[in-house]
Structures are given as structure tokens and as C-alpha cells.
Symmetry: C2
Subunit: 353 residues, 2 copies
């Protein structure tokens, strides 16, 4: 498999190194061949070329079977205009590779129940996935801009969905639900927005081919509330780009460990795997970052792109074991557990594979 490796900024390079070590360990066991090719993205790419997504990087990505991305951004580039910032590299690569679906599993680890902000009875057993539409909606809708009207400034964006965009993500959500608890919650604001009324209509239509899966519709404000009150009731949540951005972060916060959350962004041809957390410039370069989210993102790659689910399960089980043994990086450390650095955590995981 050809893997494009985009370490990006901050702790990016450190956690990427960890994930690759883990991949190499699994590759031996399952006789997989990985060919890595590194590219620049985000702030690192801006510094080197002035562009958060250089053509060279895009070329590497398009010639790969999967992209591993660590993290982009940092204060250093925060004052650049929206259009020139590290995040733009992220948005552009999603769009260029047509990665229309972002999958974010939210799972409660028994060993980490303590670090959840929720009461134990509520968080224990939570196992959901947010499927966020990633190449449409208000992120990319036109017209957009800031201009002068009636003597004052006005800013505007367009939230827009085409039928085919809703249909393909709804299909994916139902397919994924079939391999899980067979329940899809589609989230919108159909009582106010036309774009949501269409979303609801198409999801309902698509559901007719998946009658074995339960479908419920929920307003986004209610979903933000129910995620906190009864997260266990969710299985697959499918929603648009903006609502998905908000709800997947909220759902992620419930498990209490941002450093543990992987994600996969997939399209018809390409796929990109990245942790949910950011580049954490404050601890960059110290070798203490939590590599687990990046490692679990690599596991999602083994599952989805390489189609070796057993290898993915091996990594997930190894992560669970080291947590049960008490190994913790600083971000998830609590009294009574063993504080380890990035390297030690990675080695502990590899030992269990």
C-alpha cells in the first residue's frame, strides 16, 4: 500500500512517527507492505512554500492508497487571512480528494471512565460514530464573502446541499449502521431551514432501501442536548458539515480524552486518516504527546483502506490493554496510574501486538 504521510505542525511529526512504528509492527504480523511518501501541509508548508497545500503534496496524496495526516495549525499562522491559513490546507485536501464522509467514532474506554466529565452510569458503554458530510454544506457554499451594502459591512455564507450529496452520505450511514447496532439518527434543523427540509426528505427516501435499519430524525439543538443526557442511545449519527463539526466535538468531549479520538475521511477513491485533536503547539517537541488518536487513525486505515480488520482490532485491543495496565500520557494521567511519554506509550502498544 502506498501511504502519503503528512505530519504537519506542532506535535504532528512526533505522533506520526509513533503511528508508523505501530504500522510497521503490524505489517510484519500480517505480511503487509507499506510504502511511505512524506509531504508538507499546513503551517510547515506555508513556511516552506507559502501554500498550506502545495501541488507536490496533493500529487503525493493522489498517487497514494491512503493519506495519514497528523495535525495542522498554530498561533504562528493565526494572523494570516482565512484564505492563507494552515486550516485551508485541510479544507482543500478534503475537497480535492472528494472525501465526502468524515467518520468519528466516540467510544468510552472502561479504564478511562474517570476522565469523562459525565457521570459513570451515563458514559459507560457509549459506542457511537458521527458521520459528518465533509465536502459540502456551508463550508463550501457559494455565494460567500464580506461586502458593503447600505453603507455597512455584511458577511454571508451559503448552506447548500444537493440531492446527490445527501443521498450518498445517507447510504453510507445506513451501510455502516448495518455492521453496528442498526440505528441511524439523522440530524438537521428542518423546522427552520429549507436545506434541512431537503436533507430530511432525501434521508427518508434513501431509508426505503434499508428497512432493517431504524431511522430517527432529530433537530440539531435537541441532539446537542441528548448527547449529554443519554449518549448511550446513539449508534450512528449522520449530519451535515457544520452540524457534524459541532456535534462530533461535543461527542468527543464526553469520553473525556481528546487525545484518544481517531477519524477517517473517505470518498469514492481516496481516504484520509487523522486524529481529531489539533497540533498542540504548547507541548510540541517534548516527546510527551499522546500518540493514541494517531495510532487509532492508522488502525481505521487498516480496516477501511487495507481491508484487514483483524489488524485494526489488534491495535485497538493493544491500546485497551496498555490503558488497563495503567499506562498514561500526561493528558490522560490521573493519580495511581503510570505516566509515560510518547515513545514509552508506543512501545507498550507494540509489545501487545
Amino acid at each position: 500500500f502506498k501511504i502519503a504521510v503528512l505530519p504537519g505542525d506542532g506535535i504532528g511529526p512526533e505522533i506520526m512517527e509513533a503511528a508508523i512504528e505501530v504500522l510497521n509492527a503490524v505489517s510484519k504480523k500480517y505480511d503487509l507492505q507499506f510504502e511511505y511518501k512524506e509531504g508538507l501541509i499546513g503551517g510547515a508548508a506555508i513556511d516552506a512554500t507559502g501554500d498550506p497545500l502545495p501541488d507536490e503534496t496533493l500529487k503525493i496524496a493522489k498517487e497514494s492508497d491512503a493519506v495519514l495526516l497528523a495535525a495542522v495549525g498554530g498561533e504562528k499562522w493565526d494572523n494570516l487571512p482565512t484564505d492563507k491559513r494552515p486550516e485551508k490546507g485541510l479544507l482543500r485536501i478534503r475537497k480535492e480528494l472528494e472525501l465526502f464522509a468524515n467518520l468519528r467514532p466516540g467510544k468510552a474506554y472502561t479504564a478511562l471512565l474517570d476522565s469523562s466529565p459525565l457521570k459513570e452510569t451515563l458514559i459507560k458503554g457509549v459506542d457511537l460514530v458521527v458521520i459528518r458530510e465533509l465536502t459540502g454544506g456551508i463550508y463550501f457554499g457559494e455565494p460567500r464573502g464580506i461586502e458593503e451594502r447600505k453603507g455597512e459591512k455584511v458577511g454571508f455564507n451559503t448552506m447548500i446541499y444537493y440531492e446527490h450529496e445527501v443521498k450518498r452520505i445517507a447510504k453510507l450511514a445506513f451501510e455502516i449502521a448495518r455492521g453496528r447496532k442498526k440505528k441511524v439518527t439523522s440530524v438537521d434543523k428542518a423546522n427552520v431551514l429549507e436545506v434541512s427540509a431537503l436533507w430530511r426528505e432525501i434521508v427518508t427516501e434513501t431509508h426505503s432501501d434499508y428497512q432493517d435499519v431504524e431511522l430517527e430524525h432529530m433537530y440539531v439543538d435537541n441532539c446537542a442536548m441528548q448527547l449529554v443526557r443519554r449518549p448511550k442511545d446513539f449508534d450512528v449519527i449522520v449530519t451535515g458539515n457544520l452540524f457534524g463539526d459541532i456535534l462530533s466535538d461535543e461527542a468527543g468531549a464526553l469520553t473525556g480524552s481528546l487525545g484518544m479520538l481517531p477519524s477517517a475521511s473517505i470518498g469514492e477513491r481516496y481516504a484520509l486518516y487523522e486524529p481529531v485533536h489539533g497540533s498542540a503547539p504548547d507541548i510540541a517537541g517534548q516527546g510527551i504527546a499522546n500518540p493514541i488518536a494517531m495510532i487509532l487513525s492508522a488502525a481505521m486505515m487498516l480496516d477501511i483502506t487495507c481491508k484487514v480488520p483483524q489488524a485494526a482490532r489488534d491495535i485497538e485491543n493493544a491500546v485497551e490493554k496498555v490503558l488497563n495496565e495503567g499506562y498514561r500520557t500526561g493528558d490522560i494521567w490521573s493519580p495511581g496510574t503510570k505516566k509515560v511519554n510518547t515513545k514509552e506509550m508506543t512501545e507498550a502498544i507494540i509489545e501487545h501486538i
Copy 2:
């Protein structure tokens, strides 16, 4: 004071009755005069006139010093088109009265810490208010609609803010923060949306007249996360219509008791007070609904419209006392507390005034 009374649907009439009894009790103590005029809104108005906000109701509202609204909506009207539904009455009255700011306090009651989904150390002491822009943004932006393009359906809405809309709500947020912990968190998605970049710019500009108040900017996805992780760090949150809808419901869920949450919607000339919860058709007519959110909404009216803050404090203290004494309606009941109905709860509150 002339008060427009709009009971609406479901449990609306029951909780409205409770609030008026409480108001009458306070009015004696503070020598206030209230003149109530009742109007139809929501499903009740649709059934009677075909219109969720009849002209007659709007007239009553415009001739009043304040509007008390209980709740609108219910399954019965759920199949009407978006434009004809009970919620449209709510959206229209907000717009017609130019109620540009929606204030939603989120406060943790010591007696109810048990019912919060959050761990006690996190929720104890939470005292924040979400100030949501209410007459602009994507709720009212044009163009909007569903149409056919390139042979398929497409739905679209416009998220739009004018400079003056952002300025007036930012000012209000800073003013309110001055009477509180002097901290404003402005929430947007400025790393992606132009409408948010303008929002951030104007809020920052407006801040120059309020240097005694601390201002922080936060992305909406991060805010959804931080509300769960460290709700105590927030004081005043100011944001647009859609983000405010989502975040205020999330913040409300943290305290664990939707039946306790009041709100005030204010403009230059008018004001409307309503509970955050809905019309709860499943328990309507049984006399068991929790009247506290409606009663506390009336207290906000005493504070903001009538400018008798002491009367508002009296009601708030009375509510706190009955909770400490163990009185609970079904929605907040837990073993070891006294289950009461709407009438009993209301009387217990009045006794403490």
C-alpha cells in the same frame, strides 16, 4: 404593566396559570399592577384561525409592555409545511417585535446536582448566560429555498450578519457581563466562514468601549466541547442565532433540568419571556408539568421589563427554598424527595414569597 399572555399548546396553559399566580403574589408585596390580555399562538392559533400568529395576537403583543409565552407545537401539527407550523408563530413574533437578543441563564442548583449528567465537581457553581442573536443569521437570511438545478433538487439557506446586528448584540453582552463576572466568550466559526470573520471583527471593535470586560473568541466546535469539559469557566457567551440555538440547549442540558430553564428575548421596545422547554404534549392536561421555568421567566420579566430586581430575586430565592425542602415535580423527582404536581409546586413557591 400591560402583559400579553400567550399560553400556546400542550402544557402551556397549565404552567402559564402557575406563573400568573406567582406574579399576583409578588404584585401585592411590591405594589405592582399587572393587566393581562390573552392571545392565541402556535397550534392553538392554527386550529382557531389557520395562522400560527394571528394579527389580533400581534396587536395585543405590540400594545403590551411584555409578552409571556408558554410553549408552542405538538405532533398534531408536525406534518404541516415548515411555513405553516406552530414554530413559525414563534419565529414571526420574535422578528415582528424585533427581539434581537435571547438571554438563557444556565445555573446549577445545589439541590439538583444529582440530576446533572456531569460529575458534581464540574457542575457545582456553574452560572453562565448564553446571549443568542435572535432576529438575524441563517434563520432569516435570503436567498433561501428548495429548487431544481442541474436536474436535481437543491436546498439552500443564507447565513448573513450585518455590522449593526453584531454591534448591538455585542454591546448588550458587554453590558450584561459588567453586572456579572466581566467575561465575554464570543463564539463563531471564523476559521471557515466569512460571516463569522465579520462577527469576530465587529465584536473585537465593540470591545474597545468595554476594556473592563475580558473578551475571548472561541470556535463553535471548541465551545461545544469546552461547555462539557469546564462549564464553570464561562460567564457570558454571545453568539449568532444558529450557534446560540445549539449551544444554549447544550448548556441547558448540563444543569440536568430542562424544566427549570427560563429565557428572555429582548429588543429596543419589546420583550418576551418564555421557558426553554417545549409543549410536552405527552403530559399535557394532567396538571403535573414543572412550572418553574415559566415562573422564572416571569421573574426575568420583573427584573428586565418591570425593573424590580428585588421581586425577581424573591421568586428565585423561593424556588431555591422549595427545592432545598425537597419538593419535586415528576421531571426532576428522585428517590427521597417529595413528588408534587403543578399546583402544589406553585403554592409552595408562593408561600416563600
